[in-house]
């Protein structure tokens, strides 16, 4: 497995990283008091850490290569990914689903309001992830400005309430439609661009919208934002804070279920296939008669719709919006969720959102390192497991020989 040569290389790697990180990790200067702090423990940390990580990655890569070789020689067959097996066996997934359902419904009764609030945030990110999944995961369009549509929804509620007194339920569809309109508007000029250029342009759009919100004080009230946004109501019943939050929680559960339903239907349809084909090979897609611009625009606009909806909910949950919530970093977090979960896989994205949002909350000690981990996750996933935690599995069809009627078997990734 590990040879002496590997250990020697690991040592060199460790020395390299110690050298590399020396100024930033070890030295801390206080320019006002003119003091230097030498943090030698960091040096040890870096040295040991990189030594071990190198060895671990060698082992992982070696095993991967060995498996590839065995596959090629026909010694072992391609294993069905555990995710597919899990989803195909009703004996497994039905009880799991039932358990999750019971837990989700009973959650507010078992845990404090604070915890429920965290769950609401997690569910919001699930919806955002599923929305971005349509754009990035299925259609393959790297949208780095997704947060712009999120902002559209949030500010729509804030402003429509401020100026016209409109309530949550009225604005929810308006916010969604407005975001969709923005999606079409923004998408139209840029969707013919190539992948990396599209990414940068959408990033630009996202930042432009945030900067406008920050600076156009007459319209958006600038950096101080807009406050006093009402929570969603239930036929006008007065609710105290705790009840309102519990109500919002169940609302989110319903909306997430709705989202999963719609996204699943979309992915397993004529248009879902077209999106996937677009991601696989744009040129072949066009050659087969698919209007690539219209197909891309549809994906873009639908993804935006979801962000808009969640934006309205965000405004209702925090009762306050300001531009600082809609930075590029938000788009990156949502992208991270999709990448971690598995591009195109609904279950994967849900898991990814829950992991990335809940873990930092429950491991409070590490929450400072949240963004660091997000960055690392993006790199690690791309290098080691680009298909994500749950890889997308295509639908299979069965055909009975006698009467040639096709049936679709229910396999979804």
């Amino acid at each position: 497995m590990l040879r002496l040569k590997d250990l020697r290389t690991a040592l060199l790697v460790a020395l390299w990283f110690v050298f590399l990180t020396f100024p930033i990790m070890v030295i801390r200067v206080n320019p006002f008091e003119r003091t230097i702090t030498w943090r030698w423990q960091n040096m040890v940390l870096v040295g040991v850490g990189s030594f071990l990580m190198y060895l671990v990655s060698r082992i992982v890569l070696q095993r991967k290569a060995a498996r590839q070789k065995q596959l090629r020689l026909g010694l072992i067959r391609e294993k069905i990914p555990w995710s597919q097996r899990l989803l195909e066996e009703p004996r497994i997934y039905l009880p799991v689903l039932a358990g999750v359902a019971v837990f989700a419904l009973g959650f507010p009764l078992l845990f404090s309001t604070y915890q429920v609030n965290i769950m609401i945030t997690a569910l919001m990110y699930v919806m955002l992830g599923l929305g971005l999944n349509i754009v990035v995961g299925v259609a393959g369009l790297l949208d780095l400005g997704y947060v712009a549509f999120y902002a559209v929804g949030a500010y729509a509620y804030a402003l429509l309430h401020l100026h016209f007194g409109l309530g949550f339920w009225t604005v929810l569809p308006i916010g969604a439609l407005l975001a969709a309109a923005f999606g079409i508007l923004l998408g139209f000029p840029v969707l013919r661009l190539r992948g990396d250029y599209l990414a940068i342009v959408t990033l630009g759009f996202g930042e432009i919208i945030r900067l406008i919100l920050e600076n156009w004080n007459e319209f958006s009230h600038g950096p101080s934002g807009i406050a006093n946004i009402p929570r969603p109501g239930l036929f006008g019943i007065e609710m105290d804070l705790n009840s309102a939050i519990i109500y919002l929680y169940y609302l989110m559960i319903a909306l997430v279920l709705f989202t999963v339903f719609v996204v699943n239907r979309l992915q397993n349809s004529r248009i879902g296939r077209a999106w996937f084909a677009l991601r696989e090979d744009e040129i072949a897609c066009q050659a087969m008669g698919i209007d690539k611009t219209r197909t891309k625009l549809t994906a873009f606009a639908l993804g935006a719709t979801w962000a808009g909806m969640v934006g309205v909910i965000f405004a209702a949950k925090t009762t306050f919006v300001n531009p600082a919530s809609f930075t590029f970093l938000e788009s990156a977090i949502i992208l991270c969720i999709v990448v971690l979960g598995g591009m195109g896989s609904i279950v994967g994205v849900i898991l990814g959102a829950l992991v990335l949002i809940l873990l930092p909350e429950y491991l409070r000690a590490f929450s400072d390192y949240r963004m660091l981990v997000f960055g690392a996750v993006l790199v690690i996933m791309m290098v080691f497991r680009p298909q994500g935690i749950v890889s997308n599995v295509r639908r299979t069809y069965t055909f009975r020989k006698e009467n040639r009627t096709p049936e679709a078997s229910n396999t979804q990734g």
Partner: protein, 300 residues
């Protein structure tokens, strides 16, 4: 009229810094077709390294000249090492992956490095020592051009000349040009493509670091977030001039620097960043090849 000239030199200064960073973007894009999202962070790390080294050396009482030289050297060396390492970790494994994968990896690296510096150092704005002394002969032009402006322009000019000499007249430069044009062919004629790619990253990072030191000295403070905005603007400049083209990056940088200077000077300074982003969006929509670039046709 004085104001106009002042803005002119201010624009040139901006343009110089953008050029030093933009060159890294354009060279990497030219050679492996990747937008190195983490490049802005390399610039920031260069500035931070310079801050740390300069502070330590000045606390130990070294003479100013020594501090300046060692700081520049340290910034360039460490930034190059970071650039080299980032390429090996996050980009090299993805060289044959679909286009979006290295881009996502680059974004991840950018976020990682930002937060790495944030956590290892501080989120505060740190005061950067003034490494460039005030030149007496420039007192006449006070208000129009200062000594750090002059130094920045000179350093940039010298760097451009060195880089051009390297690309045009040395073997390595030729190998870089060959690899940028056709990587497979370059491999077949015996060029060590991995090495050339590493060299490209090293040079780009060193330039960005120099830019980082200069601007930090000029502005007087640094912060872990400066890489993001500077990176986007330098990238805009590179795209404006034609991504992949070295003269394009320089041209685009000066155009961006000057227009930014005049726009913020005469119109409004609030929307400074909006201006750069809008320019970026417009160029990519209407002329992605930029001023000096050529559009490529994909062979079916």
């Amino acid at each position: 009229m004085d104001y106009f000239i002042e803005l002119f030199f201010g624009g040139l200064t901006r343009g110089s810094i953008y050029a030093l960073i933009a060159l890294g973007y354009t060279m990497v894009y030219g050679i492996i077709g990747l937008i190195n999202f983490a490049h802005g962070e390399i610039y920031m790390i260069g500035a931070f390294t310079a801050f740390i080294v300069a502070s330590v050396l000045s606390i130990y009482g070294l003479p100013l000249a020594a501090i300046v030289v060692l700081t520049l050297l340290a910034a360039a060396v460490w930034a190059s090492c970071y650039g080299y390492t980032v390429e090996k970790l996050a980009y090299k494994p993805l060289r044959n992956a679909p286009r979006l994968s290295p881009l996502i990896s680059a974004i991840g690296m950018s976020i990682f490095l930002q937060n790495y510096v944030l956590l290892a150092q501080t989120s505060d704005f740190l005061p950067f020592p003034a490494l460039i002394p005030e030149f007496a002969f420039l007192d006449r032009f006070a208000g129009i051009i200062g000594s750090s402006d002059l130094v920045i322009l000179l350093v940039t000019a010298v760097t451009m000349i060195c880089l051009t000499w390297l690309i045009k007249f040395t073997r390595i430069g030729k190998a870089m040009r060959a690899t940028a044009q056709d990587r497979k062919m370059a491999m077949l004629v015996g060029i060590n493509v991995d090495q050339i790619i590493s060299v490209t990253f090293i040079i780009g990072s060193a330039l960005a670091a120099i830019g980082g030191v200069l601007i930090a000295s000029h502005v007087g403070q640094i912060n872990f977030f400066i890489g993001f905005i500077a990176g986007i603007k330098a990238f805009t400049a590179a795209v404006l001039g034609g991504i992949g083209s070295i003269p394009g990056a320089v041209l685009g940088s000066f155009i961006l620097g000057l227009t930014e200077s005049y726009a913020t000077g005469y119109v409004s300074s609030d929307y400074e960043d909006v201006f750069a982003f809008s320019l970026l969006v417009l160029i990519l929509i209407f002329r992605p090849a930029g001023l000096l670039g050529k559009s490529t046709i994909e062979k079916v």
